[in-house]
Amino acid sequence: MMRLIGTFMMMLVAAGLFVTPAQAQNGPLRIEITDGVMEPLPYAVPDFVPENGAASQMAVNIARVVAADLSGTGLFREIGKEAYISQITSFSSPVEFADWRAINAQALITGAVAVEGDNVTVKFRVWDVFGGQELGNGLQFAGTTGGWRRMAHKVADEVYSRITGESGYFDSRVVFVSETGPKDDRRKRLAIMDYDGANVQYLTDSTSLVLAPRFSPTGDRVLYTSFESGFPRIYILDVANVGRRGLQSREGTMSFAPRFSPDGQRVVFSLETGGNTDIYLIDISTGAETRLTRAPSIETAPSYSPDGSQIVFESDRSGSRQLYVMPATGGEAQRISQGSGNYGTPVWSPRGDLIAFTKQSKGRFHIGVMKTDGSAERLLTASFLEEGPTWSPNGRVIMFTRETQGAQGQASLYTVDITGRNLKQVRTPDGASDPSWSPLQK
């Protein structure tokens, strides 16, 4: 339940998530995200104030992206400018709290933008309207005009963080597979975009089938599977210069389903030999391989716990596909999934508290979450076909692939809260599948 703590209730302590200024004594604005939503928090974000003529359009654009980020969470509801009683024409003038209370804006975000050549400076403040005070201190970001959306996302992350006490997820990217063409002649290539679907760039062409890219823990590299040799093999790609190399190559085998270790130095993956698929570990710099499972069943889709001590994976050793957790060095695995149906693609949350998965049951597919011991399973979505969850950097939102039914079936990306609310499609230029969400950018 997401509780909206009223203006006059005591503020809960947010440990170390942002620099808490000395003003926090009076129980100001606060959302605590727990288990579900009631009313989204009403807020206003008037156009930012342009500090010079060159900034006028950008001042509007940045405020609009901030609003899209906040409202897109489902936790906040924007009050449109047609309701405004007073305008914000100066960043430094006092806020007329009564005018914003009258339209029930609980939070007000004001900002100013200056553009000098290619450089942009954005200043902003967050106001607790009913508390009649500023929430946190004013902040300023500097960047280039080409990176203006990132600056807007940083503002929104800071607002989100001050009001919820948790880190945001807006200044992040998603690497995915872009899909074109009919189902029996589908072309796939790697693409990268901002979390909200803006700024799509392609990382490979579509001459070879590519699958399931995965970001490194710092977002600088991407692992993926490509058929460019004629056989599925894992490649590692540098995001900055799009340089790539094969990670692992053994004649007569297939390798796929790679993921980085939390330290970014090793890759856990599936290797198939003689028809049998097991889980292996490879050291990226030395190429040294370690076999982690040894079973005649299929072992695939491994994912590390954030502390690096355990690996969750999928296996059909019991006769159906179920989820198992083993030590990161291999060894005895514990089955954690307990329900009926088939489970796959487990992914450990960045907070370490939950595992997201795909479940196939009674002819439907679901994205769900469970605790790391397999208890408290909750299915968040249901449709004809969906799979491949990836976590937002703060562990609050899951993005996944949904594919529609039939001969005209198309894949696209969706997000859903871990509460099961706020299901939304992410706009992409073409079909899209296999998302992997980056950490927050630095």
Binding site: K183, D184, D185, L211, E272
Partner: protein, 169 residues
């Protein structure tokens, strides 16, 4: 619509091949994985031709959901393939394993590999040298039938024996 267009193309390709009686089918394994759908060289009436292998012998076997078991019909087809490959000893093959769309990407890749491997092991048991037989799995990535019904799924759960000459490495 697209499917119809593709069928017409395939027919055109076949008749062209029949006219020219083209030579050995080359496949370096880097194709799109639809090898069995591409125009196949040779004449269907020439028992030594790849087209004969594909059409008269049968280049594919089908599987039950989540299974890689070869049924009697599959074994009959593979016996024919083994016999043809014994006679036509300079052909190597790549066995492509495929799955239907009901399942996750990773699992279906692993399942397709099981199917391809089951065919490979069977052909080895019928005397075909293991170094002539490569396998690859496309999982659910290369369906030949695109409806979301069992009639299509049944044809997509397949292993296809694709002829290639002079496989290296």
């Amino acid at each position: 619509m697209t499917y119809l267009a593709k069928s017409i193309l395939l027919v055109a390709g076949l008749s062209l091949a029949a006219c020219t009686n083209a030579g050995r089918f080359d496949n370096d394994g880097t194709g799109a994985g639809a090898g069995s759908d591409a125009a196949i060289a040779g004449s269907a009436s020439d028992p030594k031709s790849p087209l004969y292998f594909q059409q008269a012998i049968g280049d594919r076997v089908l599987f039950e959901v989540d299974r890689q078991t070869l049924d009697d019909e599959a074994k009959r087809v593979l016996d024919g393939q083994a016999s043809w490959l014994t006679t036509n000893a300079d052909y190597n093959v790549i066995i492509e394993g495929h799955a239907d769309e009901q399942g996750t990407r990773e699992y279906n890749l692993a399942l397709g590999a099981r199917r391809a491997s089951a065919v490979r092991e069977y052909l080895i048991s019928r005397g075909i040298s293991s170094n002539r037989l490569k396998t690859v799995s496309y999982g659910k990535e290369r369906p030949i039938e695109i409806c979301s019904e069992e009639s299509c799924y049944a044809k997509n759960r397949r292993a296809v024996t694709v002829l290639a000459s002079g496989l290296t490495g």
